[in-house]
Each structure stands twice: as structure tokens, then as C-alpha cells.
């Protein structure tokens, strides 16, 4: 059977096989949809290969309180979601929610952080989570081995993390078990809306489907306008360093340093402009390593085993974009930075709405790209 003939049977095509696309495809299949999951080739620029695996709440929602609610909803759903994935695939994605820290290495950093947390709490009377500012002594009792330069930090009791590589694998496996047809090396290049259905021209031929979900990360910038949607993006480069495996010593994830369930320590503490994941920026790596060692001096004795760069999916204002096209109904766009944190929402809440053909306006209205249409002041 040719790809074209088979693809006529798809209710919906999901464009993008990263964490976001795979979570949506999995959720759609569980909702009874016949799904094709279109992915690029192995050499594509993928945000999913450079994420930090945090399921993170603190700091979320400054400027858009509904984002705090959306994030907490996913964080709260995560334990059940992880259990469901384990039941269906046998894979343990190692989700833990012990609470998490952001550490300050100077009084100025601590004051900046405290002001952010204060603004966050003031902005919405009913912020659905609390972040506390803790002094050094309080943090030291929770994080033994803390370096002398740490003056304090913030702690949010519902922050957590997981093993994101295993999450990626579990989502793909679970999606396939529910009948999702995975099409690698099918990079979508053009999408046309024809008589109420969609034709996607890919690098491996055409695929047709009744509905389409754009979950292609930064590529949504170019794909969305083809179906009457928009996704203003500003990709951001980040680097990750990983140490050899050591016995567990870091009980809580820190925003920039965490120990994985397998024992490695990940360090991720950089933001650079630019869309190239190629190569390393050594002066940036040096700062990352130095800050990590000031937080936990014992890290200085460990060997690094890998470091690499990736490109974050980032919308123009940093908040997710969820929309259905007005001119091409049945076309949806899903863009967000936090594909790990929001994976539970994408599979359990967003996908059933897409399957039903309507995004809940109360829950997702604030994330429409129409928010970018504010007339600029003269």
C-alpha cells in the first residue's frame, strides 16, 4: 500500500515528532483518532534532544497568570501520567516531585529573584502555587555540600523532574501501541487546505488527513501561515554539560543543575541568541561549569562525559500558543517551550479537545496568537 493510499485513512496528521508532537499524537490516539505522526529525519534540529527534563513550576506565569494555572494543572497530572505510561509501555520515566530550587550566587542575584517572586505573587491574587525565598542556612539543611558562594535562593515545593529521554521513548512507544502511524523522514514542507481536508507535501511524498496539528517547534513559524495560523517564534540557543555517573547526592533539582535517576549530573545554564545548534561556545561553557561548581564544589572533581548545544522552542513572548485556524478549521497549532512540563496536559487535556474539534476557550483562550495583535502605541 502506498503512503498516499494509506494516508487517506488518517483522521489527523500531527506535524513534528518531538516531545510535544508525540504527546499530542498519543493523546489523540487514546481519544480514538487515527493519527499519522510526521517527523523529520535524524539530522533535524530538535529541541527535544537538548531539554533539561524539569517538570517546573516556579517562575511560570509572570505576565500571564493563566500560564501558571496551566502549568500547575500539568504538574499535578504528571504522576498519574507517568503511571499510565509505565502501565502501557513498561517504561519508568522516573518522575519525581520533591520540590526544586533556584540558587543565587550573590546578594544582587538573590534580590532580583526575590523581586520576581514578589511580582509573581502580587500579580494574581490566586496564583496556584507558592515560591519561598530561603536563606542560606535553610537551603543548606536541604542541600548538603552547598558551596560557600550560595547566599540564598527560591524553593517551590511542587517542582520536579523526570528522565526526558525515556519520556520521549515512552511517548513514541505508547503512541504506536495505540495505533499512531509514525512516519519518519517526512518533513512537512507545504500544507494546503482542500475541500475541508489537508494535503501535506513532505520530503517523502504527500500525506492527507482530515485535520492537522502543527507541533513542529520553531518550524511552526513558517508552517502556520499556510493554514491561516500564526506562530511568532524567537529561537534561543542553550547548552548542556553532563558528568559521569555518581552515587545519588543531590536530592532536589536545581533550575540549572540536577542529578538524573541514572546518576549523571546535568548542567544547563545558558541562553544565547541564534538558531544554530552546531558547535560549542566555550566561554559560555566555562561560565556554566564555574557557576555549577560554586553551587556544589564537589562537582569540580567529576569528569564531564558530554556537552552539546540545542535550540529552544520559544514564542515571541515565551508563553505557549494554542489555536485553531478560523480560515482553515481543523488546523491547530501547538507551540511551547516547556514540552516536558506540559506533556501531561498535551496528552490528557489538549489532545481530547483537538479530537473533538474545539479548544476550550476558558482554559486555552489566553494562549491564542491573537494576543499578539495589540495595536502598537503611537
Amino acid at each position: 500500500m502506498s503512503v498516499l493510499a494509506a494516508s487517506q485513512e488518517h483522521d489527523i496528521a500531527v506535524v513534528g515528532g518531538g516531545l510535544v508532537g508525540a504527546a499530542v499524537a498519543y493523546g489523540l490516539a487514546r481519544a480514538g483518532q487515527r493519527v499519522a505522526l510526521l517527523d523529520g529525519g535524524d539530522a533535524e534540529v530538535r529541541a527535544s534532544r537538548a531539554n533539561f527534563a524539569l517538570v517546573w513550576v516556579q517562575s511560570k506565569g509572570l505576565g500571564l497568570p493563566q500560564y501558571a494555572h496551566w502549568t500547575v494543572r500539568s504538574s499535578d497530572a504528571w504522576a498519574g501520567f507517568a503511571a499510565q505510561l509505565k502501565e502501557e509501555t513498561g517504561l519508568d520515566v522516573a518522575f519525581e516531585r520533591p520540590g526544586g530550587f533556584q540558587l543565587a550566587l550573590s546578594q544582587a542575584e538573590l534580590e532580583t529573584r526575590a523581586a520576581q517572586v514578589n511580582r509573581l505573587h502580587n500579580q494574581a491574587a490566586e496564583l496556584p502555587y507558592r515560591t519561598e525565598i530561603l536563606d542560606r542556612a535553610e537551603i543548606e539543611s536541604m542541600l548538603p555540600g552547598l558551596g560557600p558562594d550560595v547566599v540564598g535562593g527560591s524553593f517551590c515545593p511542587i517542582d520536579g523532574h523526570c528522565n526526558s529521554l525515556r519520556l520521549y521513548r515512552a511517548l513514541h512507544m505508547a503512541a504506536r501501541l495505540h495505533g499512531v502511524r509514525y512516519l519518519p523522514s517526512h518533513r512537512a514542507e507545504r500544507i494546503a487546505c482542500e475541500r475541508g481536508a489537508f494535503r501535506l507535501a513532505t520530503t517523502a511524498g504527500d500525506v492527507r488527513a482530515g485535520k492537522v496539528v502543527l507541533a513542529a517547534g520553531n518550524a511552526n513559524l513558517h508552517l502556520a501561515p499556510m493554514v491561516g495560523l500564526e506562530a511568532p517564534m524567537r529561537p534561543e540557543r542553550g547548552q548542556i554539560m553532563v558528568t559521569e555517573r555518581v552515587a545519588p547526592f543531590l536530592r532536589y533539582p536545581v533550575a540549572t543543575v540536577r542529578q538524573t535517576d541514572e546518576g549523571t549530573v546535568m548542567i544547563g545554564d545558558s541562553k544565547e541568541e541564534g538558531t544554530s545548534p552546531d558547535g560549542l561556545t566555550m566561554p559560555v561553557n566555562a561560565v556554566m561549569a564555574s557557576r555549577a561548581m560554586r553551587m556544589f564544589p564537589v562537582l569540580g572533581r567529576l569528569n564531564l562525559v558530554r556537552m552539546w548545544a540545542g535550540v529552544r522552542v520559544m514564542t515571541a513572548d515565551g508563553f505557549p500558543v494554542y489555536d485553531q485556524s478560523e480560515t482553515c478549521p481543523g488546523a491547530f497549532v501547538v507551540c511551547c517551550h516547556s514540552g516536558v512540563t506540559l506533556a501531561a496536559n498535551h496528552a490528557l487535556t489538549l489532545a481530547p479537545m483537538i479530537a473533538a474539534g474545539r479548544l476550550d476557550a476558558d482554559l486555552l483562550g489566553p494562549f491564542s496568537a491573537r494576543r499578539f495583535h495589540v495595536p502598537k502605541a503611537a
Partner: protein, 98 residues
Amino acid sequence: MFRRLPEAAGAALAVSVDGQRVEVRAGDTVAAALLAAGFGHCRTSPVSGAPRAPYCMMGVCFECLVTVDGVGNRQGCLVPVREGMLIETQRGEREVGR
């Protein structure tokens, strides 16, 4: 199990392996010295607990990890012995402080 080649003639040195004095030869790597001294393994696997011994002897396989002078997970096959060196075999995963 291993015998030295007759022409191997480095000067005799002494190192400590798990607190025990061991005679080695200048020019030995830590891994070679352990094998020549009859150590059947140098660590246990963090995953299964099984004993592991030096294998590739050229820096690739990471089987010969030992603690040298207090620093864990050194590749024994890449570290030349030195008089008085403190070598410790490892049990399971490296601890972060050593």
C-alpha cells in the same frame, strides 16, 4: 594469570592497593600493574554488582576504573604508576566527593 615479558625491566616501585603494599615496575600503567600483581578485578559494576577487570588497556572500554590518590573513576590503563601512589579498587558507583 599474567606474566611479565622477560625483557620488561622497569625499576621496581611500590604502590598501595587498598592499603596493601604492592611491588610494580616503572612504566606500568595502574591497570597493567594490577593485572601483573594478580588482582582479578578492580571494581564492581554499579548496575549489577559483578566484578570487572581491565579489558581494552587503551582508554576505550572504561572497565579499569579505580580510585587513584583519592580521585574516583580514573581510567587505570591511562595512568602511569608512581612511587607511593594510593590505588583503591571501587565498589559500585563513584561517590561524588572522591
